[in-house]
Symmetry: C2
Subunit: 344 residues, 2 copies
């Protein structure tokens, strides 16, 4: 009888231990066991982007520019360059294009100015930099990176951030550089609609969306993320959205993933979206796709927040979840290239 109990106890112990092991194994198996040499993922904004409202030319222009941005970043990573350089150079392609709401294509504030925000985070050191409300820095992503690398601070704003950018030698432009007819007309439409109906329907994709972002894994295994935006058309009161908020618009941690967000920024701040995805991977051991879906397609949807994120984990797995009709997005890995606009 004593032997039977011993046998039972041993059986119980080994079975429970095996169960625990197999649970761990299951979690590990949902992530790619083989690390990709490098991976690069980008977005150019999420919103009510529908095929029926898009001309063939416009669609081609977006897909071409997304491909161009990916190629610039992929060449850096392929040749052993850093994720930091890849993220900056990739985002600059989109900042320099009038297609996206960042840099050259930034939307106008209620006062008819352009106020740009950007952020940058290094997953190895978990150091970060951001600028908010800048008006004369050609590439705000470079300013965000410079704040991280050349200041003791994380977040510089307005004239102070511009002075800092000037001191570290970044290219400044006349604020008129950011004028585009398309965005100016959007502001006029927004004001007209607001005057008529007393409020602004931000479902219009021209008003709020088009933030750009990039996340990369380099051959050294480092993760970096960056985000750049012009914010919301017709914004007032020096409003700052999620793009320059570390933990909301951008996050990177070599132990989890690198993330850039786009969408209705206020919700992304309140739900600390980028950090939340990283936290789910860290604490719940979810893979990057599961964590991204849980936050974007469940938590944010229940809260009423629209938008999406792009993520890459330490194995080079990419995820691009969004809860809107479309998101300009794409990724590049060795032997793989994807660019997409609409929901599958």
């Amino acid at each position: 009888m004593k032997n039977l109990f011993l046998f039972l106890a041993l059986l119980l112990f080994t079975t429970c231990a095996t169960l625990t092991d197999s649970t761990v194994q299951k979690v590990a198996n949902t992530m790619s066991p083989k690390k990709a040499d490098y991976a690069l993922v980008i977005h150019g904004g999420a919103g009510t982007i529908r095929k029926e409202n898009m001309s063939a030319e416009k669609e081609k222009a977006y897909l071409d520019k997304l491909n161009e941005a990916l190629t610039v970043g992929e060449n850096i990573l392929k040749n052993g360059g850093t994720a930091a350089d890849a993220v900056c150079q990739t985002i600059m392609v989109m900042e320099n294009s009038p297609l996206f709401n960042a840099g050259k294509g930034a939307v106008f504030t209620n006062a008819g100015t352009n106020e740009l925000d950007a952020s940058f985070m290094d997953g190895r050191t978990q150091n970060a930099g951001a600028v908010g409300g800048v008006t004369n820095i050609k590439n705000p992503i470079l300013a965000a990176r410079a704040v991280m690398e050349k200041s003791e601070h994380v977040f510089l704003t307005a004239k102070g951030a511009e002075q800092f950018a000037s001191e570290v030698g970044l290219e400044l432009v006349d604020p008129a550089y950011f004028y585009t007819e398309r965005r100016w007309n959007s502001l006029q439409n927004a004001k007209e609609q607001e005057n008529k109906s007393g409020y602004l329907n931000y479902d219009n994709p021209d008003y709020k969306y088009g933030t750009v972002g990039c996340a990369a894994l380099d051959k050294a295994g480092n993760l970096v993320a960056g985000t750049s935006t012009g914010g919301m058309t017709n914004k007032r009161y020096n409003r700052i959205g999620d793009a320059p908020i570390i933990g909301a618009g951008c996050y990177a941690n070599n132990n989890t993933c690198a993330i850039s967000s786009t969408g209705h920024g206020e919700y992304f701040i309140r739900y600390a979206v980028a950090h939340d995805i990283s936290a789910r991977m860290e604490y719940l051991k979810e893979d990057v796709a599961t964590a991204g879906n849980a936050v974007i397609k469940d938590k944010l949807v229940k809260a009423g927040g629209s938008g999406g994120v792009i993520c890459v984990d330490k194995y080079g797995n990419v995820a691009m979840p969004f809860n809107t009709a479309g998101m300009y997005r794409g990724y590049a890995k060795p032997g793989e290239r994807v660019v997409k606009i609409y929901e599958e």
Copy 2:
């Protein structure tokens, strides 16, 4: 034989199920099963605050003001008022005192101005508001709350935030209101030290610390947090710290806890300290003290970030972890009142 296998299988199943249940039970037991009627917890900054450097008068002045602030908030909660009102009124007592680096006692920037930041978050709705870099709003915590309640935004800055505050009828002051001889002398000392040694030793508690914050649980079970600061002495470039960053300096979620942070803001942003504590409670099922300690006394210490947080969970359990020599802090619950400065 078949019966023996059935018996074994059943035994295994029930034992494993019991193990899982007991694990859940263990987690639940570490949190107080009985909800306190209300709870209020505050801080007035963490730093190198040592008894040997503190006069008896100064110590008494701080303890008296912390008690005064707690009494104001406790009276609101005791009488069935909201956590939102308690947090605002409690923080205003500290903002209106020259003892703390917030409101009246705000430190000076390198340019000799005072630029104030504040944030506010409601755990029931997870809505939030914040202001950054404001110079003429007497009580920035009221502006943060107004951004949450009366705008569609979360984060307004500089002149825009001041215009908003004026439009919603908040009390504005001449920026000279924020002049105090003590803080002005701190700036002169800071500049002198920087000129001599080429850098500023932020270990001097007068330079960086003194941010105030409050978190409260009201009788309706709602959690609210708020934070207010003057930032860092001698700060440049319109630097913004963690105080107005939702997820870093402030967070609240009725399902987890309400948190306010104080310390070296750049680290609190990079590690999304306030949201990380909430995430550990949500995902790891840690109680508020365990989660607070894990982030403040382990993760932040390893990263080199100094400071502390105050937290209250949905049961009214409070935690006040810090990794510095001292933190002005205290809490009030039915029949309980604690105010402290130094490490135990």
